[in-house]
Amino acid sequence: MILFHLDPRSGVPTYLQLVQQVRQAVQLGILRPGDQLPTVKDVVGALAINPNTVLKAYRELDHEGLVVARRGVGTFVADELPSPPDDLKGLRASLHRWVERARAAGLDDENIAALLAETTRAERPARVA
């Protein structure tokens, strides 16, 4: 069973923090196919957050195909998880090389994170505020 935690200073909306924690737990194998997620009541009882926030997170995960909601029973990790992109290994290796280059060029972790954030923002399709 996954234990959720919240970082109020992260600036990341609460429901998204829950979504990210489930995604990560699935990637790390802490959650396996068929495992049940905590009930909404358990989560709100532990974190003192609004039940709708938990529902929103679970809906998002359902939409991504990571979990399956069974009415009146609970929410479970999907049997067939969406497969990671084929080239994940290659992407990781090239990012690894890039980070090494950035460090060699004198960037520290904060500069690297800022540069990565700036680049992903710049590559994102335009949207209206």
Partner: protein, 295 residues
């Protein structure tokens, strides 16, 4: 189904002073609504009007479609109310307090009441006056929940509690909401708590509603604009400016962006709920200072 609370042009005057004025709002079913505002903004007045403890001077309030003062029998069985400082009979034990609840409420859920007290580990034979503030708050919440209300009204429920008791109180409250069918309004000054537990917010200041909206919408529509120093005339032409700050060379504005289009000289930033609420409250204070100056 009729909304749990519907207020239209609601106002309350004490002597020459309006404690609440021209308040129009609707509380949706199943929502948890935060009521925020400085002391004296009219929060308690609004809550007392909702539960029928006070009679409107102006306008109307309907609770599940009925008038809380004119038809209390129709309203009160649906409403649980925990007043500020959660008043209880201090000489009663918890058991006595629950028995009183049983005798006075037709829909009383005695099983729920005892189960909650046991789950919280509260000593049922102890006098309420001997309990800690957090425990008293939990007893008051238990009383309100065991009525099986459809609407729960809480006036500053966590103000006097230490951080752990506050967290435990909100956990219990959210568990009750998770069971479904309960609409909650609570007033508080602790914005961090409200952001966790609430999905709607009403900002009251100076006896008037400044904002009443789902929290997600509030955060999605407000933006901080920063740019080169702008003059008053330029700002006056812009819509929905909540607050403004200037240095010699820079101006930053908090705006309700609501689909407005801004000049490219402004850089747009997202803002969190706390910043937004503080901007509304600060705006009210400067408006009040203006009134005093002009008076």
């Amino acid at each position: 189904m009729t909304a749990p609370v519907h207020a239209h042009g609601l106002g309350k005057r004490y002597g020459a002073t309006w404690a609440l004025r021209d308040c129009t709002l609707e509380i949706p079913t199943g929502s948890v609504t935060a009521l925020v505002g400085p002391n004296g903004a009219g929060k308690t007045t609004l809550l007392q009007l909702v539960v029928g403890l006070s009679r409107p001077t102006d306008g109307s309030v309907r609770v599940f479609g009925a008038d809380p003062v004119g038809d209390p029998a129709a309203v009160l069985q649906h409403v649980g109310f925990v007043a500020q400082e959660h008043p209880l009979y201090r000489g009663f034990t918890i058991a006595d307090t629950l028995k009183l609840g049983l005798k006075m409420n037709p829909n009383w859920d005695d099983e729920l009441a005892h189960a909650r007290i046991e789950q919280l580990g509260l000593p049922i034979r102890r006098k309420v006056g001997k309990l800690s503030g957090g425990q008293q708050a939990q007893v008051a919440l238990t009383l309100a929940l065991a009525k099986r209300p459809d609407l729960l009204v809480l006036d500053e429920p966590v103000a006097s509690l230490d951080p752990l008791a506050r967290r435990e109180f909100l956990q219990s409250l959210m568990e009750a909401v998770a069971e479904g069918g309960l609409t909650v309004i609570l007033s508080s000054h602790i914005l961090a708590d409200l952001e966790r537990v609430c999905d709607h917010i009403i900002i009251l200041a100076n006896g008037r509603t400044q904002l009443a909206s789902p929290i997600d919408d509030v955060v999605a529509t407000h933006r901080l604009l920063t740019g080169p120093r702008a003059d008053a005339a330029a700002i006056a032409r812009m819509h929905d400016v909540v607050s403004e700050r200037h240095t010699e060379r820079q101006t930053s504005l908090l705006v309700r962006a609501n689909g407005h289009v801004y000049d490219a000289t402004w850089e747009l930033h997202e803002v969190d709920l706390e910043e937004i609420v503080l901007a509304y409250l600060a705006r009210d204070r400067s408006a009040m200072a203006d009134t005093v100056r002009s008076a």
